[in-house]
């Protein structure tokens, strides 16, 4: 009896392995290393939701046709916001889970070692969100960056200010900059200094604050004392919330332009009426072509609101689909080459980009930012003109 049971057990096991193996052949795995715990867990969780949604959509529409309808499957890893953990997770997802493409660690200081590891494993690391200037400057073949660079945030800040002045929405000469003392903040601020000077603006404040400060009254008071006409703000959402509330309390009522972190749905929700009039660099908004549809689809299915920075990840999944279709195979090298040769025009993109096409460094040369503003408690696009649905209000 025992012997028969054992044989039955082994047979079932083998069958299971066989089936599992066969099943595995018809899925293509995308590895996502995210900060699922720690101070950026909120972002990590949102990315997880967004890319799961995108993968479901791709599969519902027939998967990868060039691979006989193979479905996309996501495998996740938690970076815990630690580089050596991120490295572990990258290794694990590539070797044990057979991920063909890896994506986003979110913070640049994690992306750098994570993509380094991917490079050694000859697997694509695709960064839709990280944008430190040096990500694609290391001579890697397998790292791709979809977003414009950190310094481009400052470039577009100043382009927007020029636009505002040219169109006479306001007359800005004095600009204040406050930034969080992190990699992102410092990069944005340093670039801002350069672009402001080049364009003839007077920078009246260049103030740093510690990330996750308990109180920002002194910094905002200093900012107010410098009498800026506009403030450029570079920080993550927690401090952005604190800044907004503190500025309101201290009576600093000039326009604030953020660097791309406040388009999270929780921003307007948490600070309500104070959010009115706030501006921010953004990557997408629901009033760009196709945006409303995406917004509603996502809200209906996931029960939460999608925002700019997460649509970057949504777009990434569709880019993967195109690359896989083009490659016609799930081989990592073929996928890499397909990505490198992609040229997706604006008409097929969800993002307000000119196109998605990577140069020889893996950097997308077709990307671009927009500027959005909170008007009547909703984000609307105000720049560039071809995407703007409303005029900016800077009084």
């Amino acid at each position: 009896m025992k012997k028969r049971l054992t044989v039955l057990f082994v047979l079932t096991l083998s069958l299971g392995i066989f089936i599992g193996d066969a099943l595995a052949a018809v899925t293509v795995r995308i590895g996502a290393v995210l900060p699922l715990t720690g101070p950026l867990a909120m972002a990590g969780q949102r990315v997880k939701n967004v890319i799961s949604f995108a993968v479901d959509e791709v599969n519902a529409q027939g998967g990868i046709k060039a691979l006989g309808g193979a479905k996309l499957e996501l495998v996740f890893g938690d970076t815990q916001s630690k580089p050596e953990v991120a490295i572990s997770e990258v290794e694990r997802l590539v070797e044990k889970e057979n991920a063909v493409i890896l994506t986003e660690a979110w913070q640049s200081f994690i992306t750098l070692p994570a993509s380094q590891t991917a490079e050694r494993l000859k697997t694509v690391y695709y960064a839709p969100v990280s944008y430190a200037d040096n990500i694609t400057e290391r001579g890697f073949r397998y790292t791709f960056q979809q977003e414009p660079k950190a310094s481009d945030v400052a470039r577009d800040w100043v382009r927007f200010l020029n636009f505002v002045n040219a169109q006479k929405f306001a007359h800005i000469t004095k600009v204040g900059v406050i930034f969080e003392n992190t990699d992102m903040g410092q990069s944005n601020a340093a670039a801002a200094k350069k672009y402001l000077a080049e364009n003839g603006f007077k920078q009246v404040a260049d103030l740093s604050y510690p990330a996750r400060a308990s109180d920002l009254t002194s910094t905002i008071a200093k900012l107010k004392a410098s009498e800026p006409e506009v403030v450029l703000q570079a920080g993550y959402i927690g401090d952005a919330i604190l800044i907004a509330k503190t500025a309101d309390r201290l009576g600093l009522k000039v326009p604030f332009i953020d660097n791309g972190n406040i388009n999270d749905p929780s921003y307007i929700k948490t600070i309500g009426p104070i959010a009115e009039g706030k501006l921010g660099i953004n990557m997408w908004n629901k009033d760009v072509p196709g945006g409303q549809q995406l917004f509603e689809k996502y809200k209906a299915k996931m029960g939460e609101e999608i925002s700019g920075i997460f649509v970057l990840c949504y777009q990434a999944i569709w880019v993967f689909k195109e690359a896989l279709e083009k490659a016609g195979s799930a081989d990592r090298e073929a996928v890499r080459n397909a990505l490198a040769a992609l040229n997706i025009p604006a008409s097929r993109l969800y993002l307000p980009y000119e196109k998605i096409q990577f140069n020889e460094k893996g950097y997308n040369v077709g990307g671009g930012y927009i500027v959005t503003q909170v008007q009547k408690q909703e984000w609307v696009t105000v720049w560039p003109e071809k995407f703007a649905s409303k005029k900016p209000v800077l009084k």
């Binding site: 740093s208 604050y209 308990s214 109180d215 008071a221 004392a225 604190l242 509330k245 201290l250 600070i271």
Partner: protein
Amino acid sequence: MVSLDLFLQAVVYGLIMGSIYALTSSGLTLILGVLKIINVSHGEFLMLSMYAAYYLFQGFQIDPFLATFLILPILFFFGAFTFYFFIRPILKAPEINQILLTIGISIFLQNLALALFTADFRTLELSYSQKTLALGKISIGVPHFAAFMISISVTMGFYWVLKNTDLGRSIRAAAQNREAAILFGINVDRIYLITFSLGAACLGVAGPLLATFYYVTPTVGTVFLLTSFVVVILGGMGNFLGAFFGGLLIGLTESVGAIFMPGSLSPVLTFVVLIVILLLKPEGLFGKRRR
């Protein structure tokens, strides 16, 4: 040069934040002074009381200032629970073990909050959240002002209890000399339990106050942890009044420091103050030399 208004604004907010630090540190100073335990999970108790305030407000529209009356006992019992099951067994263990145990509790609680409440930032939007009082050219937020007044009252109240009640005397006796206290018939184990729970209860007041103007997230405790320890050292371990004035001092250092230096460097100032105090007067500005 820095204008007088700017300076005064910084002073006012330094005192207000300082009073919050004082409150978060008073519990810690008790625990350190009496039990001699370094409780790394102190910040997480604060975080939990902030979430309690948030959910009481969201669910039942209870104003956080009023909610303090509910949250204080909740934190008291939570402190008692933690003490009884996790702290008591390691009271006599080497200090480094105690640190590791509380580190474990801290990691556990942070991630429990993450799992239960998600990582989303939350704020309490009260009708008076953004209202301000004007003191000449200085503006003070209403919730901040209320927090300041309550901090002072609670500190005074606690101080009175420690000085004038039997319980207070027992606590101070147990802190000074455990063996002697036992000889005097004081039930030291019970005192330890009460002290730890009182320490947690202090956070039950600080949390709701903080939640009226700061955001709530599972990792919010870490923002206040180190500062609380610095304040405790500054004021002298076990010294309640010391923690109060220490808190005000640190609040002022941070706030005024940020006026004269790049804001991102002001934490350095706090740490430098700490090191100086440790070297010159480790028993704290108000402590008595114990060596």
